[in-house]
Symmetry: C2
């Protein structure tokens, strides 16, 4: 291990939950304006449902019951969009979410339950309403803020037909003017925002499209300044592709591990893969067999220092992808397998809100529906299954910090070991729709293993080979040593 | 006196100074962006010079030396315009001014010198960048904030050619969307802003175009909520015309007394009146003779309860008018006479920044030049004259709270008495370019009066008639009793 690389201890043990703030829960304590969409109506591109941070506070017991120890929030700062990636003011929590006071209450209540809070940092671009950009819109060439953006002409055609855009914007979207991070004052502004909220008490930053700020020195200083305030603050970049550049220990602690997401959908969902391009850095998914899947995981783990792998933000989908269940044509067994998989892998597993009760949704805005709170509509079996996988992960440090070794990959079966000084665990999956018998090399095996999780039809150990017979589309975790 | 009417005690004794924040003083402690206008270049409609609140802090000794006990600031909240009447965020002091921390320092430093701070409350309209308006611009009919404004169609044509405006705006200016104060949430928002800054420590609100919120109940609640926090907070409306409606004791304490301004320019500047329409509620000024002037003043004082007259915000010009000196073709004697006049009248006299050193400037943006800090360019005689009139007012409570009675008005001479239980003062003006002898009825006279201020060629008392011979274009204040 590279002694230079250090990631937060807590993230290695964390069970994360991703919340899209407008859609998780609405509190009666936050006054709302009048024109809101019905909570249970299909989500729309521009509509608001009125979720807020006090609603989250009021459901922390729910999350604690599920086993969650950290929440990643999509943006919460003042923004004129329901996803809030169009930041209007980086120092204000959106009034619809309850404002800064609601974040204060949330942080205090979450920390009292040992739940960490990660916020979404959207620093590449601001919005047309952002003060310094609005300043140029209003004052033209005489605004003192010209060099906060990259302006090519006046007046700015920000609200025109979108043609002949005369300033730099993310994907040439007029709504998203790029901040000019070559300007030292802009850099200082962003670093101050980052510091401010860490001082306020947040536990980490998820960085939106950080590769767009193509500047190692920028992210190095970002890390130094954030870690100077809280060395345990977590910095995770939204990068969908191999990310060695950013994961040398001097920039991010982790990335959103969509590489693992992609492999998990393609393998565990191979039987029922929907013809959906998941978007982002994904392309259209093709089914993976066990050999290709195991290789993909090995390749992924080889990309980074082990300290990074232990801190990765693993996930099965997000606000940017169709929901996992929708990706697999609503085959719940695929979701269960994938959930067990991420709970037994190094890196922090993440539950996208509502996945645990069986919510579905296609492309944006599909996966951003209002959280269903009517338990009659829940898939209770799924919920309990996920809760159990979380309890399993929490009970066994080897699943969180142990070494990883592939033991078997053949056809539709995979097995790997997670081992630390105290115990060796074997994780095995049968993704076939028929039962399967796995013959797994088990040199450390000492007697018949104990089943920690899942159902095995038979388990036996002979001559260093562990034979495990698994029902169709199930996974199992065995304690093989001591 | 109507026992119901109560105005703040401190304002009756105050000497006010109006500051246009971008133009008074710039501190090196406030980091500025790059594209600022030269401080001494003529002011422009859209340019910024970079004055700030710490610059004011650093010149409080200057103001204290002049005799100032209160400052009225043009708007200081975050706004994409150099005058800051286009509010972007009512809870943030503009970053160019040093942000909220600078206001904290200013309030503390000013209060330590017994200087009160009055802020400009711009509540009729917001701006295109104001969050709730920007929200509708970005989200259209699905914004929850539709009823914060009066919207007539989508998409908002806020940045188009200005034709077919599809929302209500002040004077149909697209940049200034009217807040819908019929919406209880908007009312609550405005009242909360008003309360917030009074709690923060400001001493009063000057209300921009308050007649546009044509709703007595609104301003009654505004007053109740502000006074509940600080009963001595001052509420002064920008109303250029007779304002009895708002000055019954249940809405404002005072208005900006442009009625007096207009009379003062027309009388003291009669010899040199520039052919300028001063703007606002003024029309083109015609010279006034002494009789008409005295009548105008009597009529003005009769409009309101005496408690109101003692609290009026008197002024000789503002950011909204050409500077006094420019109105009178730079005849400094007119400014001196008018300054002595307002220092001897009931109501708080106001010095518009820079008038005291002889700054000039025509219509907007003319009167908004950068304050001249090079004393070599000052009219030192004018400065000392104004300082002396302030000292005079401070030394004689009768000038601040005494009764007012016109004693003489003829040709180009006027005299009036200001009397309280302890003393009777006589104020006399000769606006002629030749010396003049005034024969003033002086029933209270007891021996030859003492000259408190100004120069008299002779003073004598015979048979209840005080004879005062004044040099050309001068005023005098005499102690006639006891």
């Amino acid at each position: 291990m590279n002694q230079m690389i250090q990631t937060p201890e807590w993230i290695k043990d964390a069970i994360l939950y991703q919340i899209f703030p407008d859609r998780f829960a609405s509190s009666e304590r936050v006054t709302k304006p009048s024109n809101l969409e019905a909570w249970d109506a299909p989500p729309t591109v521009f509509g608001f449902k009125g979720g807020d941070l006090l609603g989250v506070v009021e459901h922390l017991d729910y999350l604690a019951d599920l086993g969650i120890t950290g929440i990643y929030f999509n943006p919460i700062f003042q923004s004129a969009s329901n996803h809030r990636y169009h930041t209007h003011d980086y120092y204000q929590v959106d009034p619809l979410l309850g404002g800064n006071a609601a974040l204060r209450e949330l942080l205090d209540a979450a920390h009292a339950r040992n739940i960490h809070i990660i916020l979404d940092g959207v620093f590449n671009h601001a919005s047309r309403g952002f003060f310094q950009f609005n300043h140029i819109l209003e004052c033209g060439a005489q605004s003192p803020y010209l060099d906060w953006f990259t302006i090519k002409g006046f007046p700015l055609n920000a609200y025109g037909d979108g043609k002949n855009l005369n300033y730099e914007a993310w994907w040439d979207l007029p709504a998203l003017p790029n901040l000019n991070t070559d300007n030292p004052q802009v850099r200082e502004f962003i670093f101050d925002v980052a510091e401010h909220w860490v001082r306020f008490g947040i536990d980490g930053w998820r960085l939106d499209v950080p590769f767009e700020i193509d500047d190692d020195a920028f992210w190095q200083e970002f890390r130094q300044r954030v870690k100077a305030i809280n060395p345990e603050a977590y910095i995770v970049g939204e990068i969908w592709k191999p990310s060695q550049r950013w994961l040398q220990g001097d920039q991010f602690d982790a990335v959103m591990n969509y590489i693992q997401t992609r492999a998990a959908i393609a393998f565990f969902g191979a039987e029922s893969l929907a013809p959906l391009d998941p978007g982002g850095g994904y392309s259209l998914l093709e089914p993976l067999d066990a050999v290709a899947f195991a290789q993909a995981i090995e390749d992924m783990l080889a990309l980074y220092d082990w300290e990074i792998n232990l801190a990765q933000m693993n996930l099965l989908g997000s606000h940017d992808t169709p929901r996992f269940l929708t990706m697999v044509e609503e085959d719940t067994s695929a979701l269960k397998l994938a959930m067990l998989f991420q709970m037994t892998m190094p890196g922090a597993p993440t539950v996208y809100y509502g996945d645990e009760i069986g919510m579905t949704g296609g492309h944006d805005p599909g996966p951003r529906g209002g959280m269903i709170w009517d338990q009659a509509q829940w898939d209770m079996d799924l919920w309990h299954y996920i809760q159990a996988t979380i309890q399993l992960r929490k009970a066994h440090p080897a699943l969180r910090r142990g070494t990883y070794r592939t033991l078997l990959a053949a056809g539709k079966q995979v097995a790997f070991a997670r081992t630390n000084d105290d115990e060796a665990l074997l994780v095995a999956f049968n993704t076939d729709t028929a039962e399967a018998t796995l013959a797994i090399p088990a040199e450390n095996g000492a007697g018949t293993p104990q089943v920690l999780f899942g159902e095995t039809l038979t388990v036996s150990l002979h001559d260093g080979v562990l034979t495990v017979k698994l029902p169709p589309r199930t996974g199992v975790v065995l304690l093989i040593a001591p």
